[in-house]
Amino acid sequence: MASTRYTKDHEWIRLDGETATVGISEYAQAQLGDVVYVELPPIGKRLGKGDEAAIVESVKAASEVYAPVAGEVVAVNSDLEGTPAAVNEDAEGAGWFLKLKVADAAEIETLMSGEQYKAFLETIQ
């Protein structure tokens, strides 16, 4: 059972075999406010760690979502096109953005655990 890891830019990533699911954290969606649109990458796109993977728009802001680790996009959450609200309602579950075939699973271990992310949030709030 894979654990969820977090980045300083408030993305989360969860590994399941060779594929990892990526989204934005609960904190991030609360900061953004109502999500109105998500721009997802094309299937097959190769992303380096830290590359721009997606864009999430609220009424008053647009934010980049970065790839937490290097990988190839193998799936995107097409539900978000009709229901961007899913990002607000269940950011770390049904509001997932994309799935990556990760180049190096070990890269994920270098990211923050849930506990570490919680502590990190305390320092910035």
Binding site: V59, K60, A61
Partner: protein, 449 residues
């Protein structure tokens, strides 16, 4: 000074409240060597009477279109604007309001923009239109950038019969933004060979209808070929009244339609302010530049309008914005929508038909002038004539004879000597039989010399 409400007494009181001795204490951050002591070397204040007199003198030196038989077009057209339009746009709440960023107190502006967007979409035969651009030429340039974003290609093909100012506008921004432009040469007899320039490195094909020489072309085949190559067809309409009589580009397969809306509601004004129109397919809406007014409800469920999809724009997206545009042409859009509402569909169709009738009658009259050939078989309210000799000289001599006969094409393309015998001639509902007769007579006389 009549626009400055503060009295010297006010100023003294206010300086005291602020806690400084003099006004220059508030300019203390300005390095002393650049804070000017002397006034600028410009005239001192003048009364309203003096300003009217001075500017009136400059205006009196110009030949106004209404004073003479007038046939000048080529991207700006003289139409009758009903008195109602200009009165309504001068209402305080329209003239002196800001961009509707606080929608609760700007529903007037937002509703007319919503109506305007709908009218433009209907006219052009497209699904969605924005709340205006600066003018037709910059709208064309923005449409090209939009096509680059959508197709992820960076080469635009420009029809030879696109207005040279529009072509130059697109070419300038393209060159400095490191995009490629392929511009076909002007073809006064009618466009040809555009299809040969389309391949899968092309993001868009930009074509004008009616074109700069006035020719009318069915864009359907060109649209199909463009889209088969994965590119977008951008149609440019410089005379918006033409859409009251001619099949709209949307119906012919255009992906983006840009236009100049000056003909409705807006005066000639020596070239500005004008009104850029941009309309496209629903699927491209997030790539559109400019503002968009959208419908929603307020907290009490009342139907309301608001600027929306703002995340595309510069104030949010900054360097990733679809455009840097901020202020556009709000009041010109208002004049356009009021005029078009006054006309209605029946009125617009009648107006367009009148324009075409006037142009047909004029073309027949000019054809009868010895040495003059009309190049167009099909046209709306503008066509091109070939005259013996230098067209610019002919136009200048016509002007001295009291007729403004059109645009010598060399005014737009001075280096193409082979086109220096062409004049682009426009006729609108304001031209009378007497005007046409005066033109024919003056032209006959000028050519006889």
């Amino acid at each position: 000074m009549r626009y400055l409400p503060l009295t010297d007494e006010d100023r003294a009181e206010m300086l005291a409240r602020v806690g400084v001795a003099g006004i220059d204490d508030l300019f203390a951050d300005v390095p002393p060597d650049v804070l000017r002591r002397d006034l600028p070397d410009l005239p001192h204040r003048r009364s309203e009477v003096e300003v009217e007199r001075a500017l009136g003198r400059l205006a009196a030196e110009n030949v106004a279109a209404g004073a003479v038989p007038f046939f000048v077009g080529c991207g700006a057209y003289r139409h009758h604007v009903p008195a109602t339009v200009d009165h309504l746009v001068q209402r305080s709440e329209f003239l002196t309001s800001y961009t509707p960023y606080q929608p609760e107190i700007a529903q007037g502006t937002l509703q007319y923009l919503f109506e305007f967007q709908t009218q433009v979409a209907m006219l052009t035969g497209m699904e969605v239109a924005n709340a205006s651009m600066y003018d037709g030429s910059t709208a064309a340039a923005e449409a090209v950038l939009m096509a680059h974003r959508i197709t992820r290609r960076h080469k635009a093909v420009l029809a030879g019969n696109l207005h040279p100012h529009y072509r130059d506008t697109v070419a300038t921004v393209s060159r400095l933004a490191d995009h490629e432009v392929v511009a076909a040469p002007p073809a006064p007899a009618g466009e040809e060979g555009l299809i040969g320039l389309i391949d899968d490195s092309v993001s868009c094909v930009v074509v004008q209808v009616p074109d700069v020489f006035g020719h009318l072309n069915d864009l359907t085949a060109l649209a199909a070929r463009t889209q088969a190559a994965g590119a977008l067809l951008i149609a440019v309409v410089t005379e918006i009244v033409s859409l009251g009589l001619i099949v709209p580009p949307g119906q012919m397969g255009a992906d983006i339609v840009v236009g100049e809306g000056q003909s409705l509601g807006n005066s000639l004004s020596f070239g500005g302010p004008y009104l850029g129109l941009l309309a496209t397919r629903q699927k491209y809406v997030r790539q559109m530049p400019g503002r968009l007014a959208g419908a929603t409800v307020d907290a009490e469920g009342q139907r309301s309008y608001v600027l929306t999809l703002s995340a595309r724009e510069q104030h949010i997206r900054r360097e990733k914005a679809t455009s840097n545009i901020c202020t556009s042409s709000g009041l010109c859009a208002l004049a356009f929508t009021i005029h078009l509402t006054l006309l209605g569909e029946a009125g617009l169709r009648r107006l367009a038909r009148l324009n075409h009738a006037r142009a047909v009658a004029l073309a027949d009259a000019l054809t009868r002038v010895p040495g003059v050939t009309v190049l167009n078989r099909a046209f709306f309210n503008e066509f091109t004539v070939r005259v013996p000799g230098d067209a610019a000289d002919v136009i200048e001599r016509l002007a001295r004879a009291g007729v403004l006969g059109g645009v010598p094409f060399s005014r737009l393309e001075p280096r193409r000597r082979e086109l220096s015998d062409l004049v682009v001639v426009a006729a609108t509902e304001l031209n009378t039989d007497e005007d046409a007769a005066a033109y024919a007579a003056a032209l006959t006389e000028v050519l006889a010399c």
